[in-house]
Amino acid sequence: MRDGAEDFAAPMLEAIGVSRSFDVSKPWLQRTLTREGRLLLRAVDDISFVIPRGTTLSLVGESGCGKSTVARMAVGLYAPSEGQIIFEGQPLSAARAQPAMRRRMNMIFQDPYASLNPHWRVRDIVAEPIRAFGLLSSYADIAGRVAALLTQVGLAPADGEKFPHEFSGGQRQRISIARALSSEPEFLVCDEPTSALDVSVQAQILNLMRDLQVRLGLTYLFISHNLAVVRHMSDRLGVMYLGRIVELGPGEAVFRTPRHPYTRLLLEAIPDLDMVGKSRTPVGGEVPSPIDPPPGCTFHPRCPLANARCRVEKPAHTRVAAAQGEVLVACHAVEEGRDGA
């Protein structure tokens, strides 16, 4: 079986050995004069995952780990440099070419201030996918559908007459969700949907997203840097570090019995309400630059378990059994059983 692959019947989305590089070279003339070569940044490096229908897969990691690049590839905003993304059994590029398939996926962005056109009324913003895909044609039908969508996300139908600046951040994110739902999608990619919001508003949006998932049978790819939010939202969880998925498995398994040293570090590092009066020893070091990643396992400079093998050999995924199901861990220490778990 392929490295990092899992078996699920008829998944919504499947990524097989996907990589994505960006050309960050200097301009041609400068390169020629200084005799420098091209410089490629490997933002996503050979990752595989499966999202079963009606479930949520979350990807979590720090800045620059490639999670947003994966989100963009999952809806076809970027094409993978290598590997394949399969949506509903078809290659994503083929699926994107058919409007009937394309309308089944949509995206919710992080910044509710930048993702809504300030010159458009909310009703036009929400109606645009309906018009673009020709789902409804009469004005009255579209107005009715927009009103229903606004009600569904907790706004009033009369709000459709307003402009985005008249709403708070949380209400704007509701508008983004209404727009994303208007093409009746089955698969939603949510890239940090609540990180621009205050906690009490974040709770409203997370509850709304879970309600909608249950009611409409949605499948989510949920991207976040906030582990507590991820724990709340996900069925399955992938932890990313420098472009690779270092641990992938059922959310509860990863949270209860984290195996990869990086996952443990992350869980250890988060300040939590239950930490009142306790102190701890933080792990040192920082995320290295993805332009020049360390050889072998990219986490080895910060890893307490690193040895000679970790410095030269890139770890493949090891299957580890947990109470909640199988977990894939890319770590030599786990494979060799010297992680003390």
Binding site: D198, H225, A228, V229, E268, D272, L273, D274, V276
Partner: protein, 331 residues
């Protein structure tokens, strides 16, 4: 006597459509060596409180009432010239974004030396030696070699370490840290919090830690003030505020934070949003969103009242009030 006393501090912004009251009679103390956390959502007035104390309100904002006293001396009515030696020497500041705090045109060592020489009598050589010691103390590797490096040559976490050194190098008695870890990744955030805790403890510095992250507060602060719509709605020891919040807003806020320890089906949510400054409701500002609202909340504005181990600005805790019976069980 407390090191810092903030007494009925009121900040107003005159606008064309009328005067907006952004801080409304905020009062609290910070003891010597104490870490006071200030939490609240965007627009609650937490950063503004810090800016008003340190005399850095953006015009047209102005202190319209109340007093700020440092060691018993009023500092809210000082001129710019008389405030300058206090800022830096007595009160240090750490802001959210380390890139905008540091001057990109000067080496970090130069900035440290300049700050120390402005406040302390030091020769060039002593100041430079001390700058190196500070960089070592905040955990910059190879400080002696990197003292002449420019801010862009440091990573985000390292820059924030330099900012901390800069805030502490004149040995102020109080540090106002405004969202010091918000721009950083979690693993770096943990390092910075630990560093800040250790340094302020070693030097006996008091800290006013402003953040929206309850987790950071829970781990760092001794006491915490929760702000809502320009007022303190609850203040008390951090354990009590986190574990047995008294004010319905604090209770809702704690419930709405997803936990790492366990997964719940639904997060508790407070419906609605904080009112805008031009539309603060009469009585208690939280009354439109409050699940325990009653008659009096619409008419009278509550002041801080004793509520168990904390103080809460809520009529539920007024013993003379004809409150519903829930008050007793909640307190």
């Amino acid at each position: 006597m407390a090191l810092l006393e903030v007494d009925h501090l009121t900040v107003e912004f005159p606008t064309r459509r009328g005067v907006l009251r952004a801080l409304d009679e905020v009062s609290f103390d910070i003891e010597v060596g104490e870490v006071l956390g200030v939490v609240g959502e965007s627009g609650a007035g937490k950063s503004l409180t810090g800016a008003a104390i340190i005399g850095l309100l953006e015009p047209p904002g102005r202190i319209a009432g109340g007093q700020v006293r440092l060691d018993g001396m009023r500092i809210d009515n000082l001129s710019r010239e008389r405030m300058r030696p206090i800022r830096g020497r007595q009160i240090g500041a750490i802001f959210q974004d380390p890139l905008t705090t540091l001057n990109p045109l000067y080496a970090v060592g130069h900035q440290l030396v300049e700050t120390m020489q402005a406040h302390l009598k030091l020769s060039d050589r002593d100041a430079r030696e001390r700058a190196i010691r500070w960089l070592e103390e905040v955990g910059i590797p190879a400080a002696r070699q990197r003292i002449d490096a420019y801010p862009h040559e440091f990573s985000g976490g390292m820059r924030q370490r330099v900012v901390i050194a800069l805030a502490l190098c004149a040995e102020p008695r109080l540090v106002i840290a405004d969202e010091p870890t918000t721009a950083l990744d979690v693993s770096i955030q943990a390092q910075i919090i630990t560093l800040l805790k250790r340094l302020t403890k070693d030097h006996g510095t008091s800290v006013m830690l402003v953040t929206h992250d309850m987790g950071v507060i829970a781990e760092t602060a001794d006491r915490v003030a929760v702000m809502y719509a320009g007022r303190i709605c609850e203040i008390g020891p951090v354990r009590a505020v986190v574990k047995q919040p008294a004010h319905p807003y604090t209770e809702g806020l704690m419930g709405s934070i997803p936990s790492l320890e366990q997964r719940v089906e639904r997060l508790r949510q407070i419906d609605g949003a904080m009112p805008r400054l031009n539309a603060i409701p009469l009585g208690c500002a939280f009354n439109p969103r409050c699940p325990k609202v009653f008659q009096r909340c619409h008419a009278e504005r509550p002041e801080l009242l004793a509520a168990g181990d904390t103080s809460a600005a809520c009529w539920l805790y007024d013993v003379r009030s004809d409150t519903p019976a829930v008050a007793a069980t909640d307190a």
